[in-house]
Structures are given as structure tokens and as C-alpha cells.
Amino acid sequence: MMLLNQYDLVPGHSLEISDFQGSDDLLIERMHEMGLRIGVRLKFIRRAPFSGPFLFQLSTTLLALREEELACLKFKVL
């Protein structure tokens, strides 16, 4: 199932990055440097309080991404 946007995320979702989008090349490059690339699997943990960053488990680490940063990623639910 493809996710249209981040608001469809539910805690516990296992996801796979299906694509990158947007024009922020530096951010996309940083995402690749931190291990986010097409085909990588993540688990959505929860959103931080006050509608804050989205928290994902990536292999053995926990990543926090702002809403606009997350908008650079397209996912499919596993």
C-alpha cells in the first residue's frame, strides 16, 4: 500500500522508502548519508509531543524528522 502523505502514518507501521521527492538536494543527500535510501525499511514509532518531529526506528537507531523533512520521502506500508 502506498502512503499518500505522512498523516497516514500509524505508530507501529513498518514502512519501506519507495522514493525521494522535492528540491532540497542537501537534505536528500543528508538523508542518504544517514542511511535513508530507496528500499530501506523503517518502523514509525510515534510523533513527538506538540505535533513535533516524527520518530522512526531505522535498523538499530532512532531518527527524528520534521514534517517538512519527512515530506521528502515516499513510503509504502509493508
Binding site: 537534505l27 543528508r30 544517514m34 527524528a64
Partner: protein
């Protein structure tokens, strides 16, 4: 693939002591290794033209080796820099400067994140600099019976690979044995820039290599995170996280205030004692007065901040090395993002309520230049502890007939007001300053670990020393200038007469028309000018200029202020003028120590002066507007 190449391709190091740089991702255990190597022999330094700190020190004597310098570079995920601190690491590795370019690189890799960190190691390998790999968190891997086969790494990188136990120091001796003994190494610094496709290829390669290294036991690694995940259920929970954040931050900042206060009092008492002792050494003369009230007072003005700065950085170090600070930054990010700031900036802001000086120093830890500008600009607006005695006397004067809870409530309102004023100022700056494309929040939340006390003590001490050596001279000079202004030309007169006839007193009288719209006379004006030494000086200066000789100075000053009149018999301190003064103090930048540290931290005299003038002009206009407005509606 593109390359960033050092201007000097072939260079010969001529420095006697070799320079070893530790390079690694944030939270990779680099700083813990640095402390094992250098002990307490370290100092915080800046790359030329940058305010980003990194540590430089000598290999500790107990390792019994020849002199070797060690650099702890700012953490980076890649040599393709995306923030100011990452740029410092990139520059160090490609530097032309023989003092900064290392002879040897220790690439620090977190053993629990090996696959992701190997990409940085590959990039460092391609610089051509001699290197070794230090794999940290060996204790955690061992706790899960994860064994590593280091041969594939040695073969690929063609360099030594050493496991480091950050808790007990295992592997450090072996690491040191690999360091070069002299600095005459010819090297070639080249940084390879990879495209995202190349990065993906490297990531696939790194995963395969890490799998080989872990002898297929990498499925045991997630167990290391079990405890952290349990803690995160509390610290990142909407309710539990918010409550624990408030409790932890209140504890930290009340510690700064309450633990530092008695120590600051001791510093104050010590310098007051030295000052009065010097004055007893002989008949009153200018030299002794300069020693006592100029030199000693100036030293006191610098050293009085030491307890606060040390405790703040100790607390921050504890939270950072425990892994909590990243959680706190995540928690507070959304509200801060509305002001153009990230969650990482909240520590300087909260510490600004204790004192702007350590808060401005803590701004260095923020990675975005844009955010540093906003933070530096608005921190002096937060209600620091030096405003408290001023608010105390003014509220006591304003509410002398009221129940005690009323001034208490107004005081709380003033603190909230300062928060709103600074949020408003940040909002304006957020609109005015161009967006910084290089500012990301995206971050890794590290494992929760028990901090090593000696590491955080050393770091807090380094930061404190850095404050004394950087800001100290500026604060010292400015305080001496203020002493000259309040002492000359009539330096032999009594205290009261001396200040009234001093350059500052004369200036106050000449510019009395400036203070009149605020509802004040020249004496209160002199108090306002003298408060530039430190805001609390306002109270003691008023005591001198209004001739208070009462033993209970505050009660005496209150009575003197209540009785103070203009020449035409009208009272000076009225509801209107006191309200104006309170708002003036809320906004005005009357602290030379803040100006001094601002010059040093921002590397800009211009910014410090713009801020000084702007805040004081705005404060003045608001005070005048309030006084005149209140008078217009019949409140004198």
C-alpha cells in the same frame, strides 16, 4: 564524483609533535576516546574565523609517549559538510595550515552502527591521510556476546582496526602504539564528494562488509537498544515526556540559580574583602583606589560568573552524554520552529533566565549560523537574575501598601513578559533573516548511557576557562573605564560628592533632559548609566546618589526614593515613572559583560553595538511612551 582538494597537494609537516585527529559521527564515542587519550590536558579552540569549538590537547603523560597533539573534531556524518561545525571537520582534513592538518586520523566508528558509519570511514580513507579505525561501544557488543572479525576491515582499509571499550579504556594503549612518532609525513588531502547514487552504492557495500565483520551475529544488536527503547516510552511520550522535560529542566536551571548563588556570593565577598583590605593599606590615594575599586572589582566582575558557567556546562554535559539532550530537543522543536529556531536551541534560552553570559556561550553548540544570530540577538531580552534586585526595589516601591502576593504576581508577569518580548523579537528576526538552506533538524537519537563524570567535569572546566580567557579581558577593560567615569576628576571627595561631580555625574546632569520624559531626575539617570556595569549596580548607585546612610540600605533607599523630589517639589518615583523604569529594565541591554561576551562570541563589534543601541533606544521609547501615556490618563 567531485573533489575538494587542499591548495597544497604535497606538503611536508615541519611541526615537532605529530597531530592526530579524531573524526567520527555525532555520538560515536569520539569525545570519550579523546578524554582517555588526553586526560585533563586539553583546551577548547576555534578554527580561524569560526566560533565552532573543538578540543585540542596533548596525549596524557601517563601514556609515557613522546609529545603528540590530539584534536577532537566536531561530529560529522560526512565530509560533504552541511553545517558550520561539519565544515570545520572538513577544513581540518583538507587544511593547508600545518598547525591544523593532521598527520594521522583516528576514524571513530560506533560498533552498534557500523554499517552506517563505514561510509564516513571510506570517505576518510580516500583523503589519502594515514588512518586507523577505532570501533567503540565494544563493552555493549560484548554484553550481547557479539564477536567481531576485524580482518575484513583491515583488508579493505589497509590500516589497523582497534576495538575500544569506552567504559574501561580497553584498546586505548594499543591505539596509541599505532600513532606516528614524528610529524614529517608527506600527505595529500583530497575529499571525494559523492552523488546520492554513489552514496547508495557505498551503503550497500557497507552493509555487506558490516555483516561479514559481525560474523552474521548482527541480529543481536537490537537487544542493546532494549533499555533505551523502554526509557523512550517515557521521555518521548506526549504526557510523560512533557512532564519529565519540565522536571529535568527545572532541576537543571534551579541548580544553576541555587547552587551557583552561594558560590557567587563567596566570590563577591572575597573580592569585596580584598578591595576593602587594599584600602586599609594606607591613606586614601588614587593608586589604592584604582587597585581596590578598579582592578579588583574588575576581576570580581569576571570571576563572579564562573560558578554559574561551570554548573550550567556540567548540567548540559550530563544531559548530552546521557543521551537525554537529543530527546529534549525533539520534544521542544515544534514550538521553537515557529520562531525560526530548532529544538536544539532551547538550552541557551533557558539558561538566559539565569544569566545572559553563559547563555551566549551555549549558543556555540547550535549548528545553524542563522539560529545562532537569532539566539544571540534575543537572549539579552530574557529576564536574567541581575534584573531581580532592580525589580525587587521598584516593585517594593510601587506596592509598598499592598499584600505581598501582588508584587509576587507582577514579578511572575515580568518573567512571562520577557519571554513574550523575546519571542516577538525572534519572530521579527525570523522574517528578516534569510532562510538557511543548510539548517536541518533531522537527527539520530543516541543510546541512553551512564555519563562518565570525569569527562563532563573536564569539559565543563574547559568551557569555564574559555569564558575567563575570552570574555574576561573585555569585561575587565569595560569595568575599568566605568571606574574612571565614576571616579574622576574629583577623586578625593566623599563617595556621594565624588560620583555627583564625576564625569558620569556631570554627564548625567547635562543629559537630564533625556531622563525627564521618563519622569526621572539626573540622579536616577546616573543610576541608569552606572547600571551598564551590571544591572544590580543601579540599586547601589541610587543609594550613593540619594545619600543613603542607613544600616538597612534597602529600607533606607526605599524611604529616600519615596522622598526624592524634583526642584519644583514633585515626587520623582511615582506610579508612572516606576512603571516606565520597570519596562526600561525589561528591554534595555545594560550589562557590559553581555556586550563583552557578545563581541567575542559573534566575532562582530558591529552586531554588539547595534544590539546595544537598538535595545536601549527601544527601551527608552517604550518607557517614555508609558510614562507620558499614564500621565495623560491621570496616573502620575
Amino acid at each position: 564524483m567531485s573533489e575538494v582538494q587542499s591548495p597544497l597537494v604535497e606538503k611536508k609537516q615541519t611541526y615537532e609533535a605529530p597531530l592526530v585527529a579524531l573524526v567520527g559521527a555525532p555520538n560515536s564515542g569520539k569525545t570519550t576516546l579523546y578524554n582517555w587519550l588526553t586526560g585533563a590536558h586539553a583546551k577548547a579552540v576555534n578554527y580561524p574565523g569560526s566560533t565552532v569549538d573543538y578540543m585540542k590537547g596533548e596525549l596524557a603523560h601517563h601514556w609515557k609517549k613522546n609529545k603528540i597533539n590530539v584534536l577532537d573534531t566536531p561530529g560529522t556524518y560526512s565530509l560533504q559538510a552541511k553545517s558550520d561545525d561539519e565544515l570545520v571537520t572538513q577544513k581540518i582534513l583538507s587544511s593547508f595550515d600545518h598547525e591544523l592538518n593532521p598527520n594521522y586520523v583516528v576514524t571513530v566508528l560506533d560498533g552498534t552502527q557500523l554499517a552506517r558509519h563505514l561510509i564516513l570511514a571510506e570517505q576518510i580513507k580516500l583523503t589519502g591521510l594515514p588512518m586507523l579505525l577505532a570501533i567503540t561501544m565494544a563493552d555493549l557488543l560484548k554484553s550481547q556476546s557479539i564477536e567481531l572479525d576485524l580482518e575484513p576491515l583491515k583488508k579493505h582499509f589497509n590500516c589497523p582496526v582497534i576495538l575500544i571499550d569506552g567504559r574501561l579504556g580497553g584498546g586505548v594503549q594499543e591505539l596509541i602504539e599505532k600513532f606516528p612518532q614524528n610529524s614529517s609525513i608527506k600527505n595529500k588531502s583530497v575529499i571525494k564528494n559523492w552523488s546520492t547514487e554513489e552514496l547508495d552504492q557505498k551503503a550497500t557495500w557497507a552493509e555487506a562488509l558490516a555483516h561479514e565483520v559481525f560474523k552474521k551475529s548482527d541480529e543481536k544488536i537490537p537487544a542493546i537498544w532494549n533499555q533505551t527503547m523502554k526509557w523512550d516510552r517515557l521521555f518521548l511520550h506526549p504526557v510523560g515526556g512533557t512532564v519529565s522535560f519540565v522536571v529535568i529542566m527545572t532541576t537543571l536551571f534551579s541548580s544553576i540559580y541555587y547552587l551557583a548563588a552561594p558560590l557567587m556570593d563567596q566570590v563577591d565577598v572575597l573580592f569585596a574583602f580584598i578591595s576593602s583590605w587594599l584600602l586599609t593599606l594606607g591613606p586614601q590615594n588614587l593608586f589604592l583606589d584604582f587597585l581596590a575599586n578598579g582592578i579588583v572589582t574588575s576581576f570580581g566582575a569576571v570571576l563572579i560568573f564562573v560558578p554559574q558557567i561551570f554548573i550550567l556546562f556540567l548540567g548540559m554535559g550530563f544531559l548530552e552524554s546521557s543521551g537525554y539532550l537529543s530527546r529534549a530537543a525533539t520534544l521542544i522543536d515544534k514550538p521553537f520552529s515557529k520562531l525560526g529556531l530548532s529544538g536544539r536551541s532551547f538550552v541557551p534560552f533557558l539558561s538566559g533566565y539565569a544569566c545572559a553570559v553563559p547563555a551566549l556561550m551555549a549558543v556555540r553548540n547550535m549548528s545553524s549560523e542563522r539560529e545562532r544570530w537569532i539566539a544571540r540577538f534575543i537572549i539579552p531580552l530574557l529576564s536574567c537574575s541581575a534584573r531581580l534586585p532592580v525589580y525587587g526595589i521598584l516593585l517594593a516601591l510601587l506596592f509598598s501598601e499592598s499584600a505581598a502576593w501582588i508584587p509576587g504576581l507582577v514579578l511572575a508577569g515580568l518573567y512571562i513578559g520577557s519571554m513574550l518580548v523575546s519571542a516577538f523579537a525572534a519572530g521579527i528576526l525570523n522574517k528578516l533573516i534569510k532562510q538557511d538552506k543548510k539548517s536541518f533538524f533531522l537527527m539520530e537519537l543516541p543510546l541512553f548511557r551512564r555519563p562518565r563524570l570525569n569527562v563532563i567535569l573536564i569539559q565543563a572546566w574547559m568551557k569555564t576557562k574559555s569564558f575567563v580567557t575570552r570574555a574576561g579581558p573585555v569585561i575587565f577593560v569595560l569595568t575599568v573605564i566605568l571606574w574612571i567615569g565614576t571616579t574622576f576628576p574629583n577623586y578625593q571627595a566623599s563617595d556621594s560628592e565624588k560620583i555627583q561631580t564625576s564625569y558620569l555625574g556631570i554627564m548625567g546632569q547635562k543629559i537630564e533632559p533625556v531622563f525627564e520624559p521618563m519622569g526621572l531626575d539626573w540622579r536616577a539617570g546616573v543610576g541608569l548609566i552606572a547600571a551598564f556595569a551590571a544591572r544590580e549596580v543601579f540599586v547601589s548607585t541610587l543609594a550613593v546618589v540619594y545619600n543613603v546612610a542607613d544600616e538597612n540600605q534597602e529600607a533606607g533607599l526605599l524611604n529616600a526614593m519615596k522622598a526624592a523630589q524634583f526642584k519644583d517639589g514633585q515626587h520623582i518615583f511615582t506610579v508612572a515613572s516606576i512603571t516606565g523604569l520597570i519596562f526600561f529594565f525589561m528591554i534595555a541591554l545594560q550589562c557590559l559583560s553581555t556586550v563583552g561576551i557578545m563581541i567575542k562570541e559573534s566575532n562582530s563589534v558591529k552586531l554588539a553595538i547595534i544590539q546595544l543601541v537598538l535595545f536601549n533606544v527601544v527601551a527608552y521609547l517604550i518607557a517614555v511612551g508609558l510614562v507620558q501615556g499614564l500621565r495623560a490618563i491621570g496616573i502620575s
